[in-house]
Each structure stands twice: as C-alpha cells, then as structure tokens.
C-alpha cells in the first residue's frame, strides 16, 4: 500500500523539485522558490541586510550572513524559523562551508579577518588576518585549502585549513569578488569586479595561467563587472555574472573562450545551479528578480519577481 502511494507521488513529480533560497539585501528577507514550478512558495525575515547564503550538506540548516547585524543567522529549512546565530565578526558578507558540513569560513569585510566557526558547538575556532576588505571565499574539494579574496589588496589568499595559516598570496586584477575551485581541485577561478576579468589560477603552482576578458557589443566596458561565478561539475562550462552589464557570460571550460552573453536582469550578482545542473539561477539586484537559465539550451527561460534587491542564492540538495 505504502509502496503504491509512493509510486503515485513519484509519478506526479517526474523530477525532484528543490527549494531555491534567495537573500534580499534591502527587503531583509529570504524568498523561497520551487525549482520545478518556479513559483515563490515562501518569504521569511532574515535580519538586517542578508547577503551570503549557504546550506548544510543534508539540506536541513540554512546559514545567512546578516551583514548589518554582524552575525550569521541559522534557519531550519523545514519551518523557516531561526534556531540560533553563529559568531561571525563584523559585517560578514560571504562564507564557505567545509565539504563535510563543518566548519564555516567567514569573510569579515570590516576588520580584515577570516573567521572560522564550528557550526555544531557554535564557537569561533580561529581568526586569520588577511588582506584589506576580504570578500570572496572558496574551499578546495578535498578541504585542504580555503581561499579568500581581498577587495582592496587585490589578492587571493590560500589558507591551509590544517594550520589556519596563509601559505600563498596570488595577485589578481582589481577588486576580486568571488572565487571557485573546479570539482577536480586543479584550477581556481577568481572574478575581478573593477579589473573586468576572471583569473584562472593553477592550484598546484599558485600561478595565474590565464585571464578571461569580456567584450559585449553595445555595452560600455565600465559596465562589465564580473562578480558571481559557477562551474559545472565536469568543468566544461563556466558562467560569470557581469553585474551592471545585466549579462551572464557562458565560457568554454577548456579553451576559456566566451561563447555567449545572456541578458538576464539588472545588476546580476550571484549564481546557483540545481543539483542536476539543468537550471542556473541568477539574482538581479536592481530588477528585483531571479532569472532562470536552461543550461543545456543556453537560454534564459523565465524571470521570477522576488524581494527587494536580491543578492545571494543557494539551491537545496536532492
């Protein structure tokens, strides 16, 4: 009987739907979308100026940088209620969770530190001094290195997670905003908002091996400001949000050639894939919506109105 009921449910939902969580920086809340229907299913308050957002590997806890509250707020994804806060240091903006789900590495923009927090004991484990205005955070798939980018120092700092010490600093272009490793851990991509480029760093040698530039017909160069970035699991495609250019660049992961510039919404900030990578969502800060990109077709298929100034985004696991 139970099996029959289950198969009925499965029939009704041929693909598994995921929850998509979006922080609204000005609206001070979180919008929840359903990835299958692309409908808004909930909105709940998230403290003052919520920006960075991530989720535990089991999908049960949502971590949110409440930048103006100087704390990380933790919410239950079932009930959308806040369970506790985590010590973050002042003005947390972006963070990254260890692949195992613990600890959390937080960039503190105002006091030039990366704070390491145990998400189970809710305690601060260490503070690592980095460059001026730390921003982007990434962790290597094996968890060996955390990378922080500092906006004013223009560097990617490699932090050894075992010792919490900086082991290398790589100079990139002006105002680095976001960093991500490929899933094989061999390359690191760093976007530079004012420099207008993406640096490709060889993780073994810690050297910049390539720089990706952007040129969009009919768009003034100063409007092209690379911010959020996502790479497919197989490394074949890289997507880069270009801020006020209102476009997402689609890049070949082998040749680093830009294949297309998709017009999304205004002031595109951050990106997130569904777990099967069929869809890519973008937060558009000025048009107050989320664009949905069909990854295989390379097309924008929908824009969904969310809250005021959407900024961060994360998709729940299957």
């Amino acid at each position: 009987m139970r099996l029959a009921a289950l198969s009925l449910v499965l029939l009704a939902h041929p693909a598994l739907a995921n929850k998509v969580y979006i922080t609204n920086e000005k609206g001070n809340d979180i919008t929840v979308l359903e990835s299958e229907t692309l409908e808004v299913i909930a909105t709940f308050p998230a403290g003052n100026r919520p920006r960075g957002i991530t989720i535990s590997p089991d999908g049960k806890e949502l971590y949110v940088c409440a930048s103006d509250d100087d704390t990380v707020r933790v919410f239950e994804t079932e009930t959308y209620t806040e369970t506790h806060t985590l010590p973050s240091g002042p003005d947390p903006e972006l963070f990254v969770l260890h692949p195992s789900g613990n600890p959390l590495y937080i960039a503190n923009e105002d006091d030039n530190l990366v704070t390491i927090v145990d998400v189970q004991s809710h305690r601060m484990l260490a503070e690592v001094p980095v460059g001026v205005e730390p921003e982007g955070m990434a962790i290597s798939p094996d968890g060996a290195f955390v990378v922080n980018t500092s906006e004013t120092t223009n560097m990617a700092h490699f932090i050894d997670t075992a010792t919490s010490q900086i082991v290398a600093n790589v100079l990139v272009d002006q105002r680095p905003r976001y960093a991500q490793f490929t899933s094989d851990g061999k390359l690191l991509f760093v976007t530079a908002e004012i420099g207008g480029t993406v640096a490709v760093i060889d993780v073994a040698t810690k050297e910049v091996v390539h720089k990706i530039g952007f040129e969009i017909p009919g768009v003034l160069p100063e409007a092209i400001q690379p911010v959020g970035l996502k790479i497919t699991q197989d490394g074949s495609r890289i997507f880069v949000a270009l801020g006020p250019a209102n476009r997402v660049a689609v890049i070949d992961g082998t040749t680093f050639e830009v294949l297309d510039y998709l017009l999304v919404g205004q002031r595109v900030w951050q990106l997130a894939f569904t777990p099967d990578e069929s869809l890519l969502f973008t937060t558009n800060g000025n048009s107050n919506d989320v664009s949905v990109i069909d990854v295989a077709a390379g097309e924008v298929i929908r824009s969904v109105p969310v809250g005021q100034q959407p900024w961060g985004i994360v998709v729940g696991p299957d």
Binding site: T153, V167, N169, L171, I194, P244, Q266
Partner: protein, 198 residues
C-alpha cells in the same frame, strides 16, 4: 611568510587609492557613477543599425516612446500599449521603438546626473561657508570686547546654513536613487518590447 605578505599589502595599496572607489568629490552617491546607459545592457534583440536609428524618429514610434517613457504610466499599461503596437510591427520596428525609448530615457538620465553633480557642488560650497562662519564666530567671541549683536546675527546665519545643508543631505538618498529608477524603467520597457520579437 607574514612579513612578505604585509610587504605585498603595502605595495598594493597606493595603486588602489588612485584608481578605485568614487574618489570624485562631485559625485556624492553611493551608487557608482555611470554617465550613460548602453543598449546592450537593456536589449537582447538585434543590435540597432543606422536604418533602425532613422526609423526610431518616425512619428508614430516617437510618439509611443514618449508615452512609454513617462514614469507615471504603470508598467502593466505600458505593456498593453506595446502589445498593441507589436501586432502590426516588424522586428525592425520593435527595435526602433526600443531605440526611441532608450534615447529619451538616457538623455533624461544624463541631465538628472548633471543635476546631482550641481547639487554636490552646492553642498561643497555651503560646507565651506559654514566653516568660514564658524571661524568668524570663534574670532568674534575671542575678542576682548565682544560685539554681541554681530555675534547673534552671525549665529543666526550659521544656523540657517547648517539647516539647509542637513536637509539637502537627507534628500540625497532620493536624489541618488533617481538614475537607478530610470535605468529600471528602461530595462523593464526593453524587456517588454523584446518579448514581442519574432
């Protein structure tokens, strides 16, 4: 290791101080100064060519653009008017309508931004005047035989200047939002027009 790192930080700083941020004293807004919008930021359709630029001046297209541009016209109504126009329009005519809307909004936005700059300049002048009045007050009150009538008059002028300065400063948020609101309007219209492209 650490000392190398600090050295690198010191090396990197002056470059940024020159090139980064909004060091421009005539631009008072937190929003970055972007003097002009560009078509590619707002339009996913075919890039407009010379023929489209000419077509954009056709009386019916120019007239519709003028109506759409008005912010008091709600977007839902703008969409209805665009849909009505799109029934008979070619891709070239739709692109021309976008160009006509874009040119109007961008020109208006540029004028607004020049206004914001004048606003900032006036504030700078006023702030210098306040400083001068404060110095004058200090000089008057330090005199051996203070002229209290003169001091009262100067104090009143100082109070007015400070009040005007703070009121204007409080309005700055709204003033600075205006170019953004115009950009949002241009984007929304561009998206609505592009939706009818074949």
């Amino acid at each position: 290791m650490k000392s190398i790192f600090i050295f690198a930080v010191i090396l990197a700083l002056p470059v940024v101080a020159l090139a980064g941020g909004s060091g421009d004293p005539t631009w008072p807004c937190i929003q970055p100064k972007q003097p002009h919008l560009s078509v590619g930021q707002l339009w996913s359709g075919p890039p407009p060519d010379a023929a489209v630029e000419i077509l954009a001046q056709r009386a019916d297209i120019a007239a519709l653009a003028q109506v759409l541009e008005q912010r008091r016209l709600p977007m839902e109504e703008a969409e209805v008017q665009i849909a009505a126009f799109a029934k008979e329009a070619s891709a070239q005519e739709l692109t021309a309508l976008f160009v006509a809307v874009f040119d109007r909004i961008d020109a208006y936005r540029t004028r607004i931004m020049a206004g914001v700059e004048r606003y900032a300049e006036k504030q700078l002048t006023l702030s210098a005047q306040i400083e001068a009045r404060r110095a004058e007050m200090a000089r008057l009150s330090a005199a051996l035989d203070p002229d209290f009538d003169k001091m009262d008059a100067e104090e009143e002028r100082l109070d007015w200047d400070v009040r005007i300065f703070t009121d204007r400063q409080a309005q700055l948020t709204y003033v600075c939002e205006t170019p953004v609101i115009l950009e949002q309007r241009a984007f929304a219209l561009g998206r609505a027009i592009a939706a009818h492209l074949p």
